[in-house]
Symmetry: C2
Subunit: 217 residues, 2 copies
Amino acid sequence: LNTVKISPRRKKAKRASYHHGDLRHQLLVAAEQILLERGIDGFTLREAARRAGVSPAAPAHHFRDARGLLTEVALLGFREFGAALEAADKAGGNDPSRRLQEQAHAYVRFALERPARFQLMFRHDKHDMTNEEFVSVAKHSYDVLEGAVRAATTMPEHGDLAPESYGFLLAVWSIVHGFSHLALGGELRDQGGGPAGKDVILKSLLPLMLQHLPRPS
Amino acid sequence: LNTVKISPRRKKAKRASYHHGDLRHQLLVAAEQILLERGIDGFTLREAARRAGVSPAAPAHHFRDARGLLTEVALLGFREFGAALEAADKAGGNDPSRRLQEQAHAYVRFALERPARFQLMFRHDKHDMTNEEFVSVAKHSYDVLEGAVRAATTMPEHGDLAPESYGFLLAVWSIVHGFSHLALGGELRDQGGGPAGKDVILKSLLPLMLQHLPRPS
DNA sequence: TGTACATCAGTGAACGCGCGTTCACTGATGTAC
DNA sequence: TGTACATCAGTGAACGCGCGTTCACTGATGTAC
């Protein structure tokens, strides 16, 4: 009892052992906080180490380098993103149009709720594109969206996409991606008047926008 | 004659005078080259000075600091961008739908032809938002787009935008903005198969996408 | 047309900064017997 | 249950780097008379 209480080297909550035990995870958490607070270019490996309460050399035992850590954050982002799209797709039931609407909504919701991850996910200069797992997880998100577009345009599940379907896919992808970027970039802050917060935009304007994207024939 | 030819301090083409004479402009040119080659985060003021053949302290006589230079680049970008949108709008004649299509096309074309400017223009963390001229020039581009949307949705030229019109505006803006970002981010490189270069996308897919954005009522 | 002088637009050396990464190290943990 | 030893996951000091910016300076240019 006493030895525990008097044990040296406790600063805050206390770490029972010399080894951190959870450092890898905590570095990822710290990275995401930094991305949020300072933006992607404000990220530094040293700051992540600082927040995890560890020396600047410690992260090297868990990630090859700074880029390796960010790649992992982006990978986790795409995992969650893909899962969100899949869940939305399921929520759309058998109606291809609803599946698409749900996915579009989920896409924007993810971007607004996890801005740090979302923006990092598409900053290819910040991660390691030779990481096969990352590439494949990212591809999967794309496939989920493509699946709903195939259904909406009555295409078979495999084989080349017809040009019209590809155009349609691009239209949907562009609109949700563009809206997400505009919103995160603060581009919509001024215009539009009214009491519009992000929720209002999501709940009333997104459906309005999607009205303009009926599925072809 | 002789004095000119033998004049010292000529390195390459020759500068007749001690003063540079065109430094401000050349710094802007150099900045844009750097943005192109190294991306926005690869820009440094010293590198711009280096390319202009001048000491690192020289730029301070023309721009407050590094951010000031980038703000100027972005401002020039928005000027050209706004002009391109206006020209496209005029090219659409009296047909609101065509005016919109032309503007959308011009939007994407600008992004693909001037990627450095375009990406910088929307990176608010890199420029000085207290610069009134910058803000007003940026606003003007938005107004040009809004004008065509008003016409397309039979709204008066002034006064608040109806919610449906605003949704429509957001849809058009999002789609061209999103497409531009996806293309510049290399997101469309792999998928889609076929011989698709950027031109193909622009000429065949953009119209396809816009088909899905008929004007309301 | 000259001349005195103010201003302009450069130089180059120096500053302090925080960064990513490397290095030799060491105490803690896990494993084989 | 002990013990010997390999491996793991940290430390902390140090490295070299390029950056933005400041400073005192100076030669070139423009202006007033």
